[in-house]
Each structure stands twice: as structure tokens, then as C-alpha cells.
Amino acid sequence: MVQRIDQDRARFREIVRGSVKKDLRKYLSSGELIGKQGKRFVSIPLPQIELPRFRFGSNKGKGVGQGEGGEGEPAGTGDGDGAGQAGEQAGQHVLEVEVGLDELAQIMGEELALPRIESKGKKTIRALGGGYSSISRVGPESLRHFKRTFREALKRTIASGTYDPANPIVIPVKEDRRYRSFKLREVPDSSAVVIYMMDVSGSMGREQKEIVRIESFWIDTWLRSQYKNIEVRYVVHDAAAQEVDQHTFYNLRESGGTKISSAYELLLELLERKYAQDEWNVYPFHFSDGDNWSARDTERCVSLMKEKLLPRCNQFAYGQVKSAYGSGQFKKDLDSAFRGDERVVTSDILDRDSIPESIRHFLGKGR
């Protein structure tokens, strides 16, 4: 049977893609998809892909069931298919399709016109790959290359003049045997580390964190599609910084003052300790409401970045989430200190709707 279905399937995927793309901005600014994330897929609800029909509404309500139970007991039907609907009719459920994270990243890339990221100039060479791609004269019998062996034998018989076309029997001897052998190949490897830093001081509210969460998810999705090997680290800070796991990062609520330099110091320590400069592409993302403790501390941040951090980073991103309490001074300070420096990108995130723009701003340079 010819796989006719492949055509229809491809068409279906195309439609799904189109419809995801159309609604991408909606997804980008709501946390909806994050909860549905599997390991490699997200499932996306697509109500509009089902063909509309004249059909009964949900107030149909009643139906007939079968089983134990007294009157007034729950019938355990879930959404309950009435009799007679069995088979022919799809229920009222919303269709969910799974889309690979890679595909999603690609769609996002197209929609936001994100350039592919160029790796930092210093490509690390690492012997990772390879395979049974070469031939050797010795080896285990299980790896014997039959064709090559036969060819050698044929060559030998012809060269020695014992080959008889009328009776073409070729018998390989020990010297003819060829074996597959393993060959190491040097593959360029690109790895990246993303460090999310978040201000968790009292002024960052629930909504601000949600925005950070959504934005980080999409940045993550994109960077993961660009690098094979990616590590993600999370840092939170108020007056002091500490490294935390993902769950804590999103759920922690601290209060207290803000000393941004503490985070940058921790970042620097992390990079020096773990991520050798010429092996890693480094992407720090810092989210805060822009309220720093003192101008002195801001100065310290700027000098830290200038001298130590920026040379190590592909790009340093600072996102300023608008909050009721934050002054927003930090972004202004950064902007004036690094005017014209491509390595520093800052962005204002006013509300959820500005998330796509901010993502484009951060990732649009392709660094």
C-alpha cells in the first residue's frame, strides 16, 4: 500500500503550523503553553482546526448510562457521550496537537524574524562523534565487511590469473579479509550557558515574575534550538544573591532591598569557576524592576560588567519589568554607560503584550 496518508499528514502539519503561527503572539504573551510542556513537545489547543457543523450544544445535558449507583449519585461520565453519538461524532473537546519544541522555535524565529545565532569566534573542537566509517585489515569477525572482502579476493584471483569466467568461484583467504573499523572524527561543538538572574526584592510582584517566567521560557526555547548543548542556571538576588533551581526561581518570593552587584558578582564567580571562556557561549539575562539600592552599587555593577563580564559574554541582556514600585533607574544607568556597545541589550517590558517585542529585541541581533 502506498503511504498516501503521508501527503494528507504533511498538509495537516502545515495547517497546524500556520495556525500556530497566526496565534503565536497570543501564546507568547500568555503562560498557557508552559504548563503543557512535555520533554520535547508542547501540546497546543487548536479549536479552529475542527470543521464547524450544525450540532447540539452542551446543554444536551441528559443522557443514558449503565451501571451501579442510586439516584443522586455522581454518574462519573466526564463529559458524557450520549447514546447514538458513539462513533460518528467527535465530542466537544478541543483538539490538541503536539508541536515539537524545535518546530515551535522555528515558527517563533520566522514570526519574530530572529536571525540564526552566530557562535562566538572560538569554536571548540571536541572529539565527540565518529563511527565505523573506515576499513582495516584486522578486526573481529562480527565487523567483517563482506563486500570489501569479496572484492579483495576477486582482485587477487584476477591478478594471479586463477579467475575463470566460466566457473567464477572466488574463495577469500585470510589476507583478503577486511573489517569495519571505528574512526574518531572531530566535530565542532557549540555549547551555551544561559544564566537567568532575577530580582526578587519586595517590589517584584506575582505578575512581574509571571512575565519573567514566560519570557524566559521562550528565550530558552529559542536558544535550545540553536545550541546542541545548553546549560541553564538560575540566580535570584535581593540584597544578596544565591543560585537556585528552576522551581525556586519561579516561585520564590523574598523581600528586602536590592543590591544588583551581588548577582553580578555571583555570575562572575560562576563563569570563572565552571565555564571556561573559550568553550562556552554565555548568555546572561537579568530581570529586575530597575530599583537598585544605591548609585554606588550601580557604579560597581557597571565596572564589573565592563571589566570582567562583557568580555566573557556573547551578549548581556537586561530586561526591566515595570512594577508599581520600581523607579526604573537601572536601565537608564546601563543605557548611558554602554551607549553604542552592542554586547549590552536592554529592554523595557511594560506588560505581557510587550513580551514578543522584548524577545525580538534580545534575540534579534543574532549574537
Partner: protein, 504 residues
């Protein structure tokens, strides 16, 4: 034909012979062994290896493939109403499953061939579907993929607007009446009985005359409308009267044809599955099973016919009802004497040793469909024995609860759900609505609302065919409502009609 292994071939011959001695009567049945992917593929095409291309088959396949991969579901049997019948067996099923499926399939094939409602279905549908495929592909070449796909989307979204009960009407109904005739407005003379003057008032009471005159007037103005009578086969009406391109007409016709082909399967789901289950159970347990297979068989059989609480399993309901009928006709539990007997003890021991059960169920499978089947044979005793109940949403607690176990109510709900097999009943009421050539569809109220959002979207599709504004008259929350789409925007207007909502 077919590609069964010798072992399965031997089993098939055995099962076929047994089925035939019982009197099952079927077209030649071809079994194909296929692997899971092929089976999923055929299944997503509704059982047909070749059909027209459409993305929704791909969607179907995606879902089947996924749920098979995750081990959530697998397809056991797939049989096509065709001459010869085609049935697919999954290659990696154990032999006992294959036997079960083969016996089940012979049940289906017998039903296809003999049930009255399947009578008019095309028995060369496999070829016909392939033809449709070729046709559609040709249109794709002519007018382009996008145009055809758009149109298929529209046509598919309307494919439930057919008249399932007119299964025997083969040709398109001629709805266009001869126009012409006299244009002059005829005065209405109500025929009256002859009477003496003084008796006139009594023989021909004026109220009666007035009523009669109104009726005739209404009849006359109705006859001037177009269509003169509401048309249930909306698709046929559109094919005939909507301003379509020739290729559009063709596609709409083939969608309609396929809808009619599938309709009887929806009308006889309970009977068909019940009948097939009855026979696989009977053939397997009495003739085909080996001792070693009995546990697996029992497991899979009960998997097929198990009753999930709060849901009707057509396999279960069907097989039990057929068994109940067989028992009743074996013991003579029917007819006036049985029905009027209210001596519980006598009823319990009732057995006239008629032995007509088997003959009766063969008759039943011939002339009934799900609605008449349940209407006639679902007895109060059966409803109680099968623990049937009516469920519904309890507004107070906000959960779905068992409302009632009263057999009459159960039966009423069951039948209601089957009316027009679970689809809203929609007719073309007026094709010259407001005297502007607009199309008015009428949803016949039977107590359940249609889903308004979907209806609006569907209406847009109708408009794409009719080109002029279209309207749907229905009831929402007890009030009359006319939904409209004029090609640019949706609108909805309330009328002053009221219907009573059922208390729930």
C-alpha cells in the same frame, strides 16, 4: 485474495463454515493481514484504502498513530460494507484475537448484506471512493490545491445535512416544481355541504368555514413558496439550486454520496455491533476456542462489551438486547397473554418452550434500525436488569448525577438521543426569504439547543455556497432566534416565539 497465513486460513474456513450453518448470509469476505501503521492509515480513511486527499484524514492518522504508540488504544476490527466485504486483521495480534475478529466480521458482513437500511448502499463503494479520489485529484490539477481544499472544508462541514431516512431515494429529489400555471390569484371557495337555508348555520358553521378558508389560504401561499415543502436533504437542494461551478457541484455531490453511504452505519450502530458481538461470542465459545485460549478470549470479549459506568456501549447494549429477544422468543414471553400477566411468580417461570429465538433475531436484524429496535424490544425488565439510568447535570451540586432509573424515562432519553442520529434536524424552509433570494434554514425544535458559535461558523460555509445572505431559525434559551450571515458579518435577531424548556 487476501493474504492470510495457512494457519489463519484454516481457522477462517472453519469459522465461515460454522457461520453458514447458523444461517449467516454474507458476501465473499476478504481478510487482509496488515501491520499497525497500515491499519491506522486505512482506518483514518474511514476504512477505504483510496480516497480523496484531505488534511483531516492526516489529522485522524496523527491521532490514531499517537494513541497506538502510547498504547492507549488499538483498532481491533475494521470491516467495509462492500461486495466483496473487506476486513483487516492486525498482523501482530495473537491467533485467538484473529479468530474473534473473523467471527465478529462475519456478523457484520451478514448485517450489511441483509439489513434493510443497508439495501440502497453502493456495494462497490471501494471502487467508487477511489473514483472520487481521482476526480478530486483532477480538480486539484485544474483549479489548484487551495481552491479544492477550501471547498472540501466547506462541503465536509455540511455533510450531516442529509435526509437519513430517505435512504431509498436514489436520485436527487426534483424540488423544482413546474412554474407557469395561471398567474391570477385564485379566489378561495371553501366547499360547503348542501343544506337548506335554515340548516345552513348548523351544517356549515361559519367558524368552520373561516378556519377552512385560512387553512387553504396558507396552503396556497405555501405552494407559492420555494421550496414548496421544507427540504430535509439540504445538500441536495444546494447542489441543485446554489450557483456553483461545475467542479464544485461535483465535489458537493460526491461528499453527499459518501454521507449517504455512511449514514446506515450510524443508524444501526447498536444493532450492528450487537449482532456481530452476539455471533463472535456464540461461534467462539461453542465451536472455535481451544482450552488454552479461553482466558484470553474472555478477557478480550469482556473488554469489548464492558459497560463503563455512565456511558452506553453499543456493543454491550446490542448484544444484551439480542440475547434478551432470543430468550423471550424461546420462552414465548411476548404477545397479549404475557403482557397482561401481572403475576410476578408466573412471569418468572414463564416458558412456553417455543424455541423461536434464533429465527426471531434473524428477522429483527433484517428490518429494524436502532430506533425501532430499542422502541420495540427494550422492555422495562431489560432496562432494570441492565441497570440503565438517566443522568444529567444537577444544577445545585454542579456535577453529573444519576437522575432516574425509571425504565420509561430511560427509554425516552435513549430514543431522543438517537433521533436523526444525534444530529439537529435542519431543513431548507425558504429559498426566497424576504423575497430577496436569501436562504432560510429551519432547525426543528426537539428540546435541545444547537451550539450557536458552531452554527454561526457553519452558516458562513452555507453562505459561501448560496452566495446570497443565509439565515438559520432556531431557539436559544427558549426564545426564537434567527442567526444570519450576509457575506460580511454575522448577526442574530430574536423573534417573539417562545418554546418551553424541559425542566432538568
Amino acid at each position: 485474495m487476501g493474504n492470510l497465513t495457512p494457519e489463519l486460513l484454516a481457522e477462517r474456513d472453519k469459522i465461515k463454515a460454522v457461520a453458514e450453518t447458523y444461517g449467516l448470509d454474507f458476501y465473499e469476505t476478504v481478510f487482509e493481514l496488515v501491520d499497525a501503521e497500515e491499519l491506522n492509515e486505512v482506518a483514518s480513511y474511514g476504512g477505504f484504502p483510496r480516497r480523496y486527499p484531505h488534511w483531516r484524514f492526516g489529522m485522524e492518522y496523527d491521532q490514531l498513530a499517537k494513541s497506538y504508540e502510547y498504547g492507549l488504544s488499538k483498532i481491533y476490527e475494521l470491516v467495509i460494507n462492500n461486495d466483496p466485504c473487506y476486513a483487516y486483521l492486525m498482523r501482530n495480534n495473537p491467533v485467538v484475537d484473529q479468530k474473534l475478529v473473523m467471527a465478529h466480521v462475519y456478523g457484520h458482513c451478514d448485517f450489511f448484506k441483509n439489513n434493510l437500511w443497508f439495501g440502497p448502499t453502493n456495494r462497490k463503494m471501494i471502487d467508487q471512493m477511489a473514483n472520487h479520489g481521482t476526480q478530486v485529484r483532477r480538480f486539484v490539477e485544474d483549479v489548484g490545491q487551495d481552491a479544492v481544499e477550501d471547498f472540501l472544508d466547506i462541503a465536509t462541514s455540511l455533510d450531516n445535512l442529509i435526509d437519513v431516512h430517505s435512504a431509498y431515494r436514489k436520485a436527487l429529489p426534483r424540488t423544482r416544481e413546474e412554474h407557469g400555471g395561471s398567474a391570477r390569484r385564485e379566489s378561495i371557495d371553501v366547499p360547503r355541504l348542501r343544506a337548506k337555508d335554515y340548516m345552513e348555520r348548523y351544517i356549515n358553521p361559519p367558524e368552520y368555514l373561516e378556519r377552512e378558508r385560512k387553512r387553504m389560504e396558507a396552503e396556497q401561499s405555501q405552494a407559492k413558496r420555494f421550496p414548496p415543502k421544507p427540504v430535509k436533504d439540504v445538500l441536495a437542494f444546494l447542489i441543485e439550486h446554489a450557483p456553483l461551478e461545475p467542479w464544485e457541484r461535483e465535489i458537493l455531490s460526491l461528499i453527499r454520496e459518501e454521507a449517504y453511504y455512511f449514514a446506515p452505519q450510524g443508524m444501526t450502530k447498536i444493532m450492528n455491533e450487537g449482532w456481530a458481538s452476539y455471533w463472535h461470542s456464540r461461534i467462539m465459545t461453542r465451536h472455535s476456542l481451544t482450552d488454552a485460549e479461553i482466558i484470553d478470549f474472555a478477557d478480550h470479549h469482556s473488554g469489548t462489551v464492558h459497560a463503563t459506568p455512565g456511558r452506553i456501549n453499543p456493543y454491550k447494549l446490542g448484544i444484551e438486547l439480542f440475547r434478551d429477544i432470543e430468550m423471550r422468543w424461546n420462552k414465548g414471553r411476548f404477545g397479549r397473554e404475557w403482557e397482561t400477566c401481572d403475576d410476578a411468580e408466573r412471569r418468572l417461570a414463564w416458558d412456553m418452550e417455543l424455541g423461536e429465538g434464533l429465527k426471531k433475531i434473524f428477522d429483527v436484524r433484517k428490518i429494524y434500525n436502532d430506533i425501532t429496535f430499542l422502541e420495540e424490544f427494550l422492555t422495562p425488565e431489560f432496562a432494570e436488569e441492565q441497570k440503565l439510568f438517566v443522568y444529567g447535570m444537577n444544577q445545585r451540586t454542579g456535577r453529573v448525577e444519576i437522575l432516574d432509573r425509571d425504565p420509561t424515562r430511560v427509554k425516552k432519553e435513549l430514543l431522543k438521543a438517537l433521533t436523526n442520529f444525534g444530529q439537529p434536524y435542519i431543513t431548507v424552509a425558504d429559498a426566497n426569504y424576504a423575497n430577496r433570494g436569501e436562504l432560510l434554514l429551519e432547525h426543528r425544535w426537539d428540546g435541545v439547543e444547537i451550539q450557536v458559535q458552531q452554527a454561526q461558523a457553519t452558516l458562513r460555509n452555507v453562505q459561501r455556497l448560496w452566495r446570497r445572505p443565509v439565515h438559520l431559525h432556531t431557539f436559544v434559551e427558549g426564545k426564537g432566534k434567527v442567526l444570519s450571515y450576509d457575506g460580511r458579518s454575522d448577526s442574530a435577531r430574536e423573534t417573539d416565539e417562545r418554546v418551553e424548556l424541559e425542566e432538568s
